[in-house]
Symmetry: D2
Subunit: 409 residues, 4 copies
């Protein structure tokens, strides 16, 4: 590729300048795009039918950080790592934090687990049993405490709570219990901490999910206060849902806290982000980057402070390559969205020029951003092709000594 | 049927008393169930492929009221009739009101039409063109004025506004224009008026709909104030959506204003309510009747003041029979839901008895409520079988003189 | 209930005779309705997030048969039990067969497992690796051999084979490999054996499933010959799919081999059959019972030889009660469908009387068949309420000694 | 754009040669890609809520051909035009044929209309009324006769037939009536004619559609014989359906006759092809182009003889620009698919290299094919940007004299 990459970039630069794109701004945005990877994404996961075990999967939180550090070394985009409690439970969180820093990382969001203890079979914070609700809230408070120890500023909440049959649970009582749990947890947060509230259309609840859509996350967050925001998992919607519309709505309300990126064709398939319908990812970034330009400072600040996180289930993929691929897919669509000519688009929109506006947006999507990504990586001293660099690094061979049977969920 | 209906009711009564059901309360609730029918439901409608014209379809608002009066005469449940402006535009609304009263009816919700004027092709209150937005708001204000003339206390708002292509419209600007329009309209309401804000997943917007889900309706209403509430059209959701969960959520927040009833298997099919998945209708009424028993007075009052309305497209059905069938389907599922033993259900729920709770709820659905409905109708002096009574009444033959080519949308 | 059940049945009988229903025929059909339960339905199962373990779950195939025998003792409807290889692998299949017979059961369909061996991660009969394909076919042949040993006449095939990403597999090559595997297996069948080919919309394949819909099952079976038929799992369709239409289509083509019953609201939720949308189950039985009356003997024979089987995942339910509930739900909807007045329905259909035809069908669904089911059970010496009989039997307490950690998948 | 387009193409050429792509073959394929446009796509259409009328819409079949000729003049890809009877009914079909030829066109598929006559409200070939079925078959035969007059070799059949309510129609009888109608029509075909049978998930039938999925089209065609094939309308599937899998399946069976291209996000939205999820269109072309390389001559011939047709509803778009945009979108995705390195892809697939195979395919999608399309157009003497050429041509201004109120459906 190298023999023509310089010419490719020169041509790209010329083309974009002709289009009126400020490439310095584009590059700066690209350089600053940070995506948190989840510790559990390096371990084994699967479907309800089978978790296939892979050689070299990390056996403890420290090895997960090793793998995450490798992804960050190659991409320069993944400094923070989300942890999951108790999957990443350790006796000394100061030590975990220090270890992360020693390999060039920091700890990102803390994710409580309220769905794998036997007590939570019929709900955690919405369980009809008050002592189980208490236990669940205590775990939430424990996680806030861990946040303080590891220097995390985001509590990322997904509630698997729901029911499988009509009548099984009392929906309004469960709604109130949920809010009570959130309120007690919210009060424990330090002022610099965010609470991110995720919603999900279904699964594992197959009749109802207590936090089923963005509206329920939003309203819960609204009642709590400014530190509570909505977390959008791209796979957690009914088929057909216009996710970028929800993103734009939350931006306008100043309540978009972050993303769990992944992709899907059917349900919550948790595939590699951008692999199923790449245009959708581009359209999400269009909404976000457009909000960067909003006249309202609150909207701009919301857009600039989104926590981008990956949350996928690599059931058949090699773990580290899957993560690298995910990062590259995000960078690709983000780069395309950075090339939108907002002035042209706005003019077409204001003139109700349907096809002209669609074309103005689509033009950016059709651009091959490979030369741009290569240039940015080279400028930063990163490998131009992170996947190839990984495959040639010998890292996978070195971790093979871990054997099979590492961490899984 | 008559020869054994008395015995059937006697047995029914005994069975329900054994179950601990208060039949006097049940009957009172049934008697008080009023469902508004829409004037346009008596006219021709169809699909984008064809509007089939029927003999005897009303040619003007007055004939629509005649038909609605016939439905009310036979069911005793449909005193109010929703009107649609300009479909029901008349020169003298006092006269229209008087006519309605003269045939035993009153005028229910007023529905503005913001989707059939050529100007609205690319949006009404969210059109990029300010003068079209102005025109749309003026129409909303005109409808508030008509409300005052006809004695209506509900403004029922559905916005067909949306876009077909990514980039076509600017989502956040459109969101703000929508809110501005609502606010201006809200300020024009009298204190006894409600504004009901409907949402819709898609169609006629095929990329995005400005008010796409309950969360967007809710947040718009929340900002406006207590007279604004959410209108749930049962067909306006993504497939799989748990509609009764949304209903319960809105009840708990005190923001459920009303329903547009219909049923569907696929998209917004606008079929006869209760015909596609009758259990879903039962489950919606379960949520509502459970809210009637809430300890929170606001929840109770919300549940007791829901505006039940029909909004269907009778593309192939004879119009008046379709309406009668719809009313009977609603009464059937409402009656079943009235037979839920809430004490038993609550006990099972509190004990996390999954199958027991499901069974407690389902038991009510399995009851044949025909004897109950017959008894209530007889006590009220109504025909026991409204459909048969209609078919035998000669009404259809009388309106045949109207010919074909009456009202349609 | 007992004090008025006789009167209830007498009234029911009178009502149905007035409707022209032949109750002797109805009862005979009900008595002959047999539903196969799956051995794995008695063990632990769950979602990808967690398999909750229950006390008393069987620890081996023999204990699964014990539980199945209890269900059959209480319902009289579940003589056959499907087995899953290798989950039910034993050293001596003759002994397994004898054990089944000793507890009043027989062995039903044999189900190969081609999705839990590590080799099958990227496909079994459609794996790009020829030696894995060979291994998979050998397992299919092993299962045919087991069929001969246990006296089973149905090979029930579900292929989890599929891909997660575009390009991952070559779709046409995989299609041909599948057909080759089926052909080799088909040739091994004895003349009295059936091969039932299941299809599934998605999961665990999240991009494509090699046998994705009824058309692919059908065409595979068509090429194989008369012993191959389609197996319909009610949960394996895209949302909105008209399952009863597919059922009627397969009946007309003489290719409907059997059902895996369960219910769902979203994806393949594997909930208790009839719990999510009971009307759909009724409509399936309407198609089947209508085919019982077809003038074409092939259609009639197909309808009369359907293998009814349950295939659910009882993630949160007690296992035996879940199975009893499933059987009762099936009997309820089947009984309602038996009460359809086909002559009336046909007349309305032939006259293009839309509402009349719909009403003729719906009338049967609205009937409370509890008196009928009670009467049939009493006539057969079965407990009138199988669930209550189980809960009072002490069986659950006796199997508690098995502890936790029994079979699961 | 012109100042750097030569350099862009030179670089493109070098890059693709490095990838092992045979650009001569690619260009030849691109030149030979012909897409039929539908006469009705130039007229007004809309949603059930409103058909917005546009200035300049053709008033008769001849003007539709004028517009189609303009599209062909600008794109070189649209020689054939599909007609719809009776929308394009003329007294002299020879004259229509001659007119088409005089403007550089030929007549493509003939499309009967069996859904807009009042008689067809409850079905055409599947109507319970035998005389309506007869009328419908007579119309099919009339269309075959018109085919002979206009030199068309494809009869394109879409049946709107279906029902709205359970019980409304007898599904198996309707299935048989449909087959009878197809058989009588099939017998009337000349040996060089194809019958293309379309299927549709739903709409306007909202309970069931007689030809609901590819399996039903396929089995109908299979029974008829080799001249009958399946027509895939990309918008006629349940959400989530893997359309390219169906395409590959039909190719392998030698039964893929053609496409109706359009795109959608929700139901059958009939938007501009490639606008909603462009990657899906690319994946469809991947399957087709892969089949071009099949070792089986039947598969190759099927792939090479696909009838590509557009079928959209331009509810808000200017008609001719919408058509040009559609053609360009198809060319773009087709061009990308032509750049797939099949040898590399095959090697990755055979090695079960999940991420490698996905990347091999995706790489082609990421390529910007603008330089290639420009080069091919220039070589053919076509305008490099057909849309701009149209907007600058003055054609739209010239047809404005037609006024509003032209053809619509």
């Amino acid at each position: 590729m190298s023999q023509w990459s310089d010419r490719a970039y020169a041509l790209f630069e010329e083309q974009q300048r002709d289009r009126g794109i400020d490439l310095a701004w584009v590059k700066e945005k690209l350089v600053r795009l940070q995506i948190e990877t989840p510790s559990w994404g390096y371990g084994d996961s699967g479907t309800r039918f089978k978790v296939f075990q892979k050689v070299g999967v990390p056996r403890n939180p420290y090895e997960k950080f090793d793998d995450a550090a490798e992804v960050h070394r190659l991409t320069g985009a993944c400094e923070a790592v989300a942890i999951h409690i108790p999957w990443d439970k350790v006796s000394d969180y100061q030590e975990l934090k220090s270890y992360a820093e020693s390999v060039g990382l920091k700890i990102g969001a803390v994710n409580p687990n309220l769905f794998q203890d036997d007590d939570y079979m019929l709900g955690s914070v919405t369980n009809a049993n008050a002592s189980i609700r208490r236990k669940a809230v205590d775990h939430l408070l424990e996680c806030v405490d861990i946040m303080k120890q590891v220097g995390s500023n985001a509590l990322s909440l997904w509630f698997a709570d729901g029911t499988n049959y009509p009548g099984q649970g009392h929906l309004r009582r469960r709604k109130r219990w949920l809010q009570e749990a959130l309120e007690e947890t919210y009060r424990a947060l330090s002022p610099d901490m965010k609470m991110l509230i995720e919603y999900k259309f279904f699964e594992p609840g197959f009749y109802h999910t207590d936090v089923a859509d963005w509206g329920m996350s939003f309203q819960a967050a609204q009642k709590l206060g400014p530190q509570a925001e909505v977390l959008v998992d791209t796979g957690h919607h009914a088929l057909g849902t216009n996710v970028e519309h929800i993103v734009s709505y939350l931006l306008d309300e100043g309540k978009l806290g972050g993303f769990h990126f992944n992709s899907r064709k059917y349900a919550d398939d948790d595939l590699i982000v951008g692999s199923s319908n790449p245009y959708e990812l581009f359209l999400i970034f269009y909404q976000i980057l457009d909000a960067h330009l909003d006249e309202d400072v609150k909207v701009r600040e919301t857009a600039e402070n989104i926590a981008y996180m990956i949350d996928q289930s690599h059931a058949i993929e090699p773990k580290i390559p899957a993560m690298i691929r995910s990062i590259c897919n995000i960078q690709t669509q983000y780069a395309k969205a950075l090339l939108i000519n907002h002035a042209e688009l706005k003019e077409k929109q204001e003139n109700n020029d349907v096809l002209g506006a669609e074309n103005a947006l689509r033009t950016a999507f059709e651009i091959d951003v490979t030369p741009l990504l290569l240039a940015v990586r080279e400028e930063r001293g990163l490998p131009p092709d992170p996947m190839r660099a990984f495959l040639e690094s010998g890292y996978q061979e070195r971790i093979a000594k871990r054997g099979v049977g590492g961490s899984s969920w």
